[in-house]
Symmetry: C2
Subunit: 467 residues, 2 copies
């Protein structure tokens, strides 16, 4: 492909993307495909000679676009919002075009320094503790690929600190115990498992009627473990759980952890972005007691995946857990301590220039637009909750302080499951099922940047009609 061909093809790709996003609401949310359909529609073997851009784009139209689930659809009420903003696409494109590696400061200084600045900007925009800033004595932030990786990094930092670093040589994790509720994201169990903390030593702390962790139960479980000779090392609190948008009482939990020297991680992946609007800054309550925190600009904020912001107040434990320096990665800049080498802040070595899409989005969309979106989505959710309350066939089964509403039918799980299936078959909206305290639940997650009142109303009529 010549540079001129790239220019022509690139312009066309931009237009195709704009067309796709413009028209996404006219497509069914879910594709009408069965397992194997996509593969069967493509050649089984690679081509033996080059094909043209037009040939590839013909297959994009014929197979790819009709074969994806449309996460940008205004009828998207499933999983979580994963918004793609225009500035964010441009930032990702620039990152792909420059093709630099940001594993060390020296491998591309701007990649590191813009990232550090973006984490400090986000600390400021979200109203997070100053101890998270890169300019603080012992803290700092980094872009991770996902909240799962943030969780794992937090666990590894905690594991390092609890063992005084001995785990790096002896690998002995057999006394370490972690704590969370059953509302926690699967990445908590996955991260612990990866780090050598088996499910035998993951304590499920009871929750209250709002699906929030009970502090007294946590305290008792920790003290029982201490008495039994275990080493409580990690507590995860949810600030907006994926399943039910539950908020754990971090002010109390954090104090319990502080008293006992336990790493306190707060998972704000789903909802931490709400703090961009001052009236929702309560989502940060207790965060001043956290050793680490993450939230996802790649969800509600409109920065396209992957962009998780992770902060810690204990940089030394993070570096202790993850830093390894082979000869071919040494640099004067790093050895002088004047720079950050982000490879030591994450699981992989290599890293893209992901800060660009955050920078583009903050600058071009602007904070007002994020606040407007958050306020709109929360208002839509509260309106819907009121309507649901007026229909006595439905129950609202969890608090709904932000943009997730958890519903169930009075008639029981089979009826709720059948409702989800029928509603999703409509093609006009998509919902995800979860289970809360044994009960089947239909989740309505409102946060796609194209969703307006009319879409939520239509979704509600759909659910009412399908009962």
């Amino acid at each position: 492909m010549t540079p001129d061909e790239f220019r022509t093809a690139g312009h066309e790709m931009i237009d195709r993307i704009a067309d796709y996003l413009d028209g996404v609401g006219d497509r069914p949310v879910q594709p009408d495909v069965a397992p194997g359909d996509i593969r069967a529609a493509l050649p089984e073997h690679p081509p033996t000679s080059p094909e043209t851009f037009d040939q590839v784009m013909a297959d994009v139209e014929r197979v790819i676009v009709p074969g994806i689930t449309n996460w940008q659809h205004p009828g998207w009420f499933a999983y979580f919002p994963a918004n793609v903003s225009y500035p964010s696409i441009l930032g990702e494109l620039l990152s792909a075009g420059l093709g630099v590696q940001g594993m060390s400061w020296v491998t591309s200084p701007a990649c590191t320094e813009v990232e550090t600045l973006m984490l400090d900007w986000m600390q400021e925009l979200l109203g997070l503790p100053a101890a998270f800033r890169s300019t603080s004595e012992s803290g700092g932030g980094v872009i991770q690929g996902s909240a799962s990786e943030s969780t794992l990094v937090a666990i590894l930092s905690a594991r390092f600190r609890a063992t005084g670093g001995a785990v790096n040589t002896d690998g002995d994790t057999t006394k370490l115990v972690a704590y969370s509720t059953d509302q926690s994201h699967s990445s908590i169990e996955k991260g612990l498992r990866i780090a050598g903390i088996g499910t035998d030593r993951l304590r499920t702390v009871p929750h209250d009627e709002h699906f929030a962790m009970r502090p007294n139960a946590l305290r008792e479980m920790i003290d029982a473990d201490l008495a039994a000779g275990f080493v409580p090392f990690f507590v995860n609190a949810n600030h907006g759980s994926t399943s039910s948008m539950a908020f754990d009482p971090s002010a109390q939990l954090g104090s319990i952890c502080r008293e006992r020297g336990i790493w306190f991680h707060i998972d704000g992946a789903m909802a931490g972005i709400a703090a961009l609007a001052p009236e929702f800054r309560w989502v940060n309550d207790g965060i001043d007691l956290a050793d680490s925190y993450c939230t996802n600009p790649h969800k509600w904020m409109g920065v396209n995946f992957d962009c998780t912001t992770y902060w810690t107040t204990d940089r030394a434990s993070l570096l202790g857990a993850l830093s390894i320096l082979p000869e071919y990665l040494r640099s004067e800049a790093a050895e002088s301590g004047a720079v950050i080498d982000y490879r030591d802040w994450q699981i992989p070595l290599g890293r893209r220039f992901r800060a660009l899409k955050l920078w583009f989005t903050i600058r071009m969309d602007g904070v007002d637009s994020f606040q407007e979106r958050i306020r709109r989505d929360v208002a839509l959710t509260q309106d819907l909750a009121n309507k649901v309350a007026d229909d006595d066939r439905f129950d609202v089964v969890a608090p709904h302080p932000l943009n997730l509403l958890c519903l169930a039918l009075h008639d029981g799980d089979e009826a709720t499951d059948a409702l989800i299936e029928r509603a999703n078959a409509s093609g006009t909206a998509l919902f995800t099922r979860t289970v809360l305290d044994g009960r089947s639940v239909l989740r309505v997650s409102i946060g796609s940047h194209t969703t307006r009142a009319a879409h939520v109303d239509a979704a509600w009529r759909l659910l009412q009609g399908d009962v």
Copy 2:
């Protein structure tokens, strides 16, 4: 940003990228910046109102582009090649624009099925064992974000198999022992550490004069560990080490592992792509004995980062290690066994549609172009090796079967280190230092897609003149 503004800005961004890549050779390889310069050139606080695309792009020109290390430069002889091809940029752009999540089949079927097909295409193009195919009884492939993540996934699969899955509940890793040479990538030690295998149980197997693992030494170390009651569980072999392009003798090593039921992983991150050219398919020797293998299309092949292809012949151990299924991720398609849910094949949960850039690159660049690049780079490396051999101030200190040449000066480490520093200060070429058996070494990695004979000649004159 309106759709029309996006179209205009997107076209301009495409043109800017084309301009950048066209002119990258006229820039210094390394930026002239000191730690903190980039940050100081940008506003310390986020803007309070939206800015225009032109304002952001002005800062891109003023701060970002002059602040990056130019990995696409024809004078790029540092680290490893990280080529960005035009089709690959277009594939990444499409992925950003569609904004789908591929964590499960059902969350975007095309994302999963194109990826599976690409792994099978790559198996075919590289001449890898059929046991790696997704259509095989027990194997399959996946795109990982990096070779580091591949290594970690291999270690976790091995850990699961060696403990019969018990590690998932008891987290006991204290008997497990791993083996590799000191030429291995830092991600081996990092992955082991993450998985709870401390450095006390990472055996450094001696290497021969070609930096290749000694099979007899491996056998003896394993048997000594077995006799001492340890559980040897993981052997890593390098097919082209980062530091010196060393190849371990996998046919022999693999047999030793097979006899003892030890997971045998082959790390082909640097050079496995060479197998695209039939005459270099020897890089696969012994791979039929591997339980897992990875190589990086995001290095020599021109697919932009991140795109690591990872295969295993033992899917069950991989899923045993990483599968966790919360209610909100359940789907009929997955439970029927008819589909792959790639979230269970990797560390994170979320995943981008990374297969698009591989698909675009294979189709539009074509296999012939990859072969041509590989042949050209290997020939340039051999030519340079001959020239170096004629200059008795220099030693070639490692075998150079492909595109990496390791040099040192007769006059000793200080002279070599000083040469690297002077040559890099020129701005016309960039080399990385490593240490081989205690000796300072200048690495010449030839693989940037813009590098031609004239650039290698100029680099050689630079080195000769700077001695």
